[in-house]
Symmetry: C2
Subunit: 301 residues, 2 copies
């Protein structure tokens, strides 16, 4: 029997940690998830991950070689192998995740920024195939980004480039509680940002809105989208407002690297055209003429 090569893929997010076994085609053979907040320390996470994954790895090892573990995480530095000062995780400071996981599992482990991993995925297996310049934006608990320039991930001087979620579009704007920065994209376009906008619009609404059926704790981007799909005008406004901010930020990115496409990932991006249409309009409006109509906005594949 021909030995198959498999790898373990782990996606660390602010809310969920997803894991899976993938083959060389990028096909996911099995997957599962853990709740991030159940692991307040990096040690508890490595322990918990090992308990769940080691039997799965053992089962797949009978007729395949497990070549290593790849981790995508916010604020991860692929050079140092650490997560560094993540504003959206409980693990503070510099956390040497790759080393700890590698030691525990006895397997090579590489880590990279989750949005860089998403960008690599698009480049190898997705809509970015054949493109040399594109950007991926993950609209989740935080807002991450991966930038491809001339066919390669842009790492910058220290391996940490591409934190577009923390760029500013309105320097007197809404404060992001995770970082203290005002008017950043993450302030408005992360899951938390959308919820904040939804609460504001709901509480100010002069007309009845389906958003009134939800308590503060129940509101999330999916709920807002569901209300919008049912025709709720206020819920739709939440997404058009979010899209407009996003589009202005995208104009900044396009003036920087002039990409062929910007791919959107994450919970907030599930709203599809309800978010993409106002974003596209705002982006085009804020571009110099030669940049207009050159950059596609696409939901990730």
């Amino acid at each position: 029997m021909v030995e198959t090569k498999l790898a373990v893929g782990i996606d660390i997010g602010g809310t969920n940690i997803k894991y899976g076994i993938v083959n060389h085609l990028g096909e996911i053979l099995m997957e599962g998830r853990l709740k991030t907040l159940l692991y307040p320390t990096i040690e508890s996470f490595v322990e918990g991950l090992y308990n769940v994954l080691s039997p799965i790895i053992a089962a797949h090892s009978t007729n395949a070689a497990i070549t290593g573990i790849g981790i995508g995480a916010p604020n991860a530095n692929h050079i140092s192998g650490s997560i560094e000062h993540s504003p959206n995780l409980l693990w503070k400071g510099i956390v040497p995740v790759a080393r700890l996981v590698s030691e525990k599992f006895g397997l090579p482990c590489a880590i990279d920024n989750d949005a860089n991993v998403a960008a690599l995925g698009e480049l190898k297996f997705g809509g970015g195939k054949g493109m040399k310049d594109f950007i991926t934006i993950t609209l989740g608990t935080g807002v991450g980004s991966g930038i491809v320039v001339d066919g390669k991930i842009l790492y910058g001087n220290k391996g940490i480039a591409g934190e577009l979620g923390h760029t500013v579009v309105h320097h007197k704007g809404r404060k992001n509680p995770a970082t203290g920065f005002k008017g950043t994209i993450e302030s408005y376009c992360s899951a938390k940002g959308v919820v904040l906008t939804a609460k504001k619009y709901r509480d100010r609404a002069k007309e009845p809105t389906l958003l009134h059926n939800y308590s503060d704790g129940e509101l999330n981007p999916e709920v807002v989208y569901a209300c919008a799909l049912e025709g709720d005008a206020i819920a739709k406004k939440v997404y058009s407002y979010t899209g407009r901010i996003l589009g202005k930020a995208f104009a900044n990115f396009v003036h920087f690297s002039s990409p062929e496409a910007i791919f959107l990932f994450g919970g907030v991006a599930q709203a599809g055209n309800m978010l993409l249409e106002p974003a596209k309009k705002a982006m085009e409006k804020n571009l110099l003429i030669p940049f207009r109509g050159q950059t596609q906005l696409l939901a990730a594949s």
Copy 2:
């Protein structure tokens, strides 16, 4: 006698067109300038340039080979050889400068964005030697930028990447009359932006200021800097305000490409530390922890 190779260098700006003869070391053997506004059409510019330059070229051709003409201009596309929709030049639309100059002079001609040319200069001859990731910002009539990623100019998908002057830091902010965009770096940090800030501060001043000695038409960044050097508090405030805006914009750029350095060129940058210090402070304050202290702000060499 050994034949020397020389080239003609031309720098087209909103106010001045500088020309010179340079050798392979980047040394300028002679230089001169024309007033941009005297050439309202591209044809009049090519004609005027030829009248001035052809005798100079002839004089240098006796014991050297003139290999070609290199032009730096705002909104120039090195792939098409054209200046495209420049908001700060009188030549509107798409202007095929490289072809027109090449035909007139009978010499090869290449054109690139003025800020890309500045970046290439830094990379080959200046402070960027040995650096793989840096950005140059030209604070002149407009605000231009050249971005070096992994040792190469970032051109993007269509050859026009790197228009950082038109990125937004305050989307409800001051309108740039050249583009109509609100709250862009050019609105605040171009020569015109500095003059506008100076007028505002002068007219609002409750204390006496040296800026009152100048009419609207006489105010320019050099005058404001001269007043500041004489200890004028309001004039100093003009530069600290401009610097703070610039620093916030730089934080956006650092979160994008994490460069080793940002080099500043142009009239406004002559203010040196009066601009750089507040810019550095504002930049650092708006950076995520791993990005702090990683990017130098330098006056161009």
